[in-house]
Symmetry: C2
C-alpha cells in the first residue's frame, strides 16, 4: 500500500489491495494482445452486466482525441455506459474525420458483439499521436471480447499500459444501509502527465446505486483533488479521461448527497482516486522517487494549488531530488515564480521534515541527516505561504536520466 494514502483510511473502510475495476459486483474486465504493441496486451474491455450510471471528465487540451469526442457524445445521450473498450500504443489523436469514424466503427462492432446500444459504449485510446488505428486489429480485438470469464481483470489492467512499469489498481469496501458497497479502480500513466488531466486513463467502478448528477459532481471534486494534482512532466495529453461507473448491483437505496452516509461513500471514491493518482506519480517515466508537496496558507485554494503544482513540476526541484541534493533555493525560486503576489518574507519551507527557510531566509540545518532522508523513496516538501486555512497537496516524481532516455526514443 502507498504510505501516503494510509491516512485516508478509517476503520469504516476495507482496502482490497489486489482489487481493481472488476471487483465491484456486476463488472467483468479483460484484455488481450491484438498486435498494436510487439508482445504486450494492448486491447482491453470493461463490461457491466446492466447499464451503469456514468460520470466522466476529459482532457482540457484543445486537441481532444477522437475516442474522447465520441465517448463524450455517447454518454450525453442518457448518462449510461455498459462497456468501455481501450487500446494502447496508438492514441487516435490528430486523425481528423477518419479518426472519429474509426472510433464509431469500434462502437458498432462492440454493439453487435455484446448486443448493447452503441451509445452505451465508451472508447479510449492511449499511445502515439497522429497515426490511424489499424482497424483490422481492433476488429480482431472486439471479436475476442470475453465477458463470460470474470477472472482475467489483471489482463485488463495490463492492456491499457504504455510506458508504465506496473499495473495500477485498488478496491475498497464500505457498508452503507447495511449493504456492502465496493468501489474499484484501474488506471495508467505515465508520461505527458500534468493537470488538468494527464496522459492518463482512469476507470472507476462501483456497484452502488448512485444518482447520476451526484455521481458527476463527486467525480469532478475527487479528480480536482487527486488526478489534477499530479504532474510528471507538465505536458497535458490529448487523450486523458476518467470514467466512474455505478451499476447499482449492490441494490442499496439510491445514494444522493442528502443520504446520511454520503460522506462515507464519497470518502471511499476519493480514496480510490487518490491511490490511483499517486500510483501514476510514483510510476512517472523514469521516476525513482515520489515527491509530495504540501502548501498551506495562500490567499486562495487556487493559489495554493498553483504553487504546489509549480514546485512539484519544476525541473530543477525534480533533478535536485533525483540527486538527493537539499537545494532549497530551487523550491523557493519555484514558489516565487508560481505566484508573484506572495510575500517572500512570510515563507517557511520544510524538506523531509527539516525547516530550511524561515520567513523567507535560510536557516541552518543538519545536512547529513537531511541527505540521508533524501535517499528514501518518498520526499515530502512543505511550504507555508501565509496564515489562511487553505491546504493543497500535489504529487510528482524526480527527473532522471531514464526519463530523457525513454522520451528521446519513444517513437522510433
Amino acid at each position: 500500500m502507498l504510505e501516503e494514502t494510509k491516512q485516508l483510511i478509517d476503520t469504516e473502510m476495507t482496502v482490497i489491495e489486489e482489487g481493481d475495476v472488476a471487483t465491484p459486483n456486476g463488472y467483468v474486465a479483460g484484455g488481450i494482445h491484438v498486435g498494436l504493441r510487439r508482445e504486450k496486451k494492448d486491447f482491453g474491455w470493461l463490461f457491466s452486466s446492466v447499464p451503469a450510471n456514468c460520470a466522466a471528465v476529459y482532457t482540457q487540451n484543445a486537441f481532444k482525441a477522437a475516442p474522447l469526442q465520441v465517448t463524450e457524445e455517447s454518454i450525453s445521450v442518457d448518462n449510461k455506459l455498459s462497456a468501455v473498450v481501450i487500446n494502447s500504443a496508438i492514441a487516435n489523436a490528430c486523425t481528423g474525420h477518419r479518426g472519429i469514424e474509426d472510433a464509431k466503427q469500434t462502437q458498432k462492432w462492440v454493439a453487435s458483439k455484446l448486443q448493447i446500444p452503441e451509445h452505451h459504449i465508451g472508447i479510449a485510446s492511449t499511445g502515439l499521436i497522429g497515426e490511424f488505428l489499424p482497424m483490422q486489429k481492433i476488429e480482431y480485438g472486439v471479436n475476442n471480447i470475453d465477458i463470460q470469464n470474470d477472472s482475467n481483470s489483471e489482463d485488463f489492467n495490463e492492456s491499457i499500459l504504455t510506458t508504465d512499469k506496473e499495473t495500477k489498481h485498488i478496491a475498497v469496501q464500505v457498508t452503507i444501509d447495511d449493504e456492502v458497497i465496493t468501489i474499484g479502480g484501474t488506471c495508467k500513466g505515465s508520461g505527458m502527465i500534468h493537470p488538468n488531466m494527464a496522459t492518463m486513463l482512469g476507470f472507476m467502478t462501483t456497484d452502488a446505486n448512485v444518482e447520476v448528477e451526484d455521481l458527476n459532481s463527486l467525480l469532478k471534486e475527487s479528480v480536482d483533488e487527486t488526478f489534477n494534482m499530479i504532474t510528471v512532466d507538465g505536458d497535458t495529453s490529448t487523450n486523458d479521461m476518467v470514467i466512474l461507473l455505478a451499476n447499482g448491483q449492490s441494490h442499496n437505496q439510491p445514494l444522493t448527497k442528502q443520504h446520511p452516509e454520503w460522506n462515507k461513500f464519497a470518502k471511499a471514491v476519493q480514496y480510490v482516486s487518490q491511490y490511483l493518482a499517486q500510483s501514476i506519480a510514483r510510476d512517472g517515466e523514469g521516476a525513482t522517487k515520489l515527491i509530495k508537496v504540501n502548501v498551506t496558507g495562500a490567499k486562495t485554494k487556487q493559489q495554493n494549488n498553483v504553487i504546489a503544482k509549480t514546485i512539484v513540476g519544476s525541473s530543477l526541484v525534480k533533478t535536485a531530488i533525483h540527486g538527493a541534493d537539499p537545494n532549497f533555493g530551487r523550491i523557493v525560486t519555484s514558489i516565487g515564480y508560481a505566484d508573484h503576489t506572495i510575500n517572500p518574507n512570510e515563507i517557511d519551507v520544510w524538506l523531509c521534515g527539516h525547516l530550511l527557510v524561515s520567513k523567507g531566509m535560510n536557516v541552518s540545518f543538519d545536512e547529513l541527516d537531511l541527505k540521508a532522508k533524501m535517499e528514501q523513496d518518498t520526499i515530502e516538501i512543505c511550504a507555508k505561504i501565509g496564515d489562511t486555512p487553505h491546504k493543497s497537496t500535489a504529487f510528482g516524481c524526480d527527473l532522471s536520466y531514464e526519463y530523457v532516455k525513454i522520451n528521446a526514443l519513444y517513437r522510433t
Copy 2:
C-alpha cells in the same frame, strides 16, 4: 556568428564578433578569481569613465535577490550608473536583511575604491541561493578592481559565468549623424532559464548619447522580444537582470524616438539583445541543439508568445528533439494545452521545413530526410494557428542526460 541572427543584420550594421561590453568608447571591464569558485574567475567589474544613463529590467520572481533590490533602488536615484560589479557562485538570494547589508557594503567599498557615489554602482550576483556572501573575498575583489587596463574584458566575460560552457558577447556598430556608435553586450545563462527573465545576467553598453526615458522603453521592448522569449527549463530565477548603459562618449546629439535614425539604433540594440539571448538558449545546461519556434496567426501577439514558449519549453518536445525523433504529436499536444481556445482544425505544423500537420491532421512526410535534418544543431519548428498577422519566435534547447546530471549534483 549564430545563423539565426544573421537575418537581423543589414548593410548599415557592422558586427564585431569578438566585441563585448567594453567595446564601446569609455568602458572598461575586467575580472579575477577571488575564491568563490574553485579555480575560475568569479568576480567582475564594468566601469564607465563618466556616469552613464541606465535602463534596467529585473526578474519577476517574488523572491527578488538582495543585489537586485539594492541596484534597483540605486538606479532610481538619478537613472545613472558608473560601475557594475558582479560575482558568480553565490546568488545572495533568500539572505534577508544581512543580504541587503552585504550588497550595500559592496557598494561602499566600490565607491571608495573608484571615487564615485554609491548610488552609481550596480551590484549583481548569480549562483547558489540561500548562502551568505563571504565578504572578505568580495572585499579582496573590490580592492583589486583595475580600471586602467582596458584589455581584459574577456576576463569579465568569464567571471560572470556559472554552468555556462562558453562566454557570450558581441558588439555592433552603426553610423548615426556621421558618428560611429557602438553597442556591446555580455551575458551569462545557463540553467533556471525562463521568461520573464531567466537565471541570466545581461549587460549592454553603448557610447551613444540616449535620453534615459527612451533608453528604458527600448530596453523593455528589446528584452520582451529576446531575453523573455527563451527558455531552458521553465524556472525563473531570483537574480535575473539586464542592464543597458549609454555613456554618450561618441558625442552624438542626444538620441530620442523622434530622431530620424532612431530605428537604426534600436535595431542595433535589438540585434545585440537577440544575439545574447540566443547564445544563452544554445548554451542551455546540457544542450546539444538550439530549438527555434515560430508561431504565427494566433488571435493576439500574447497568445502567439504563450504558444511559442510552451512548445519550446515542453519536456517531451525537448527530449524528442534530443533523440532526433520527429514526434510531431508532442508539438501538437503542447499547442493544445498552451491555449484551450485555438481551433485544432486550423493548425499547421512544420518541423525542419517538413509539413507534418495540416488543418490539425497528420500528413505523410519523408521520414528519412526529416530525421537527417534533425541531426543538425539548430531545429526549427513552425506552427500556424490562424490567419492573423501576429508572429512570435521563441528559443530553447533540447533536454539531455547531461541536464539531469548537471542539476542532480549542482549544489553538492
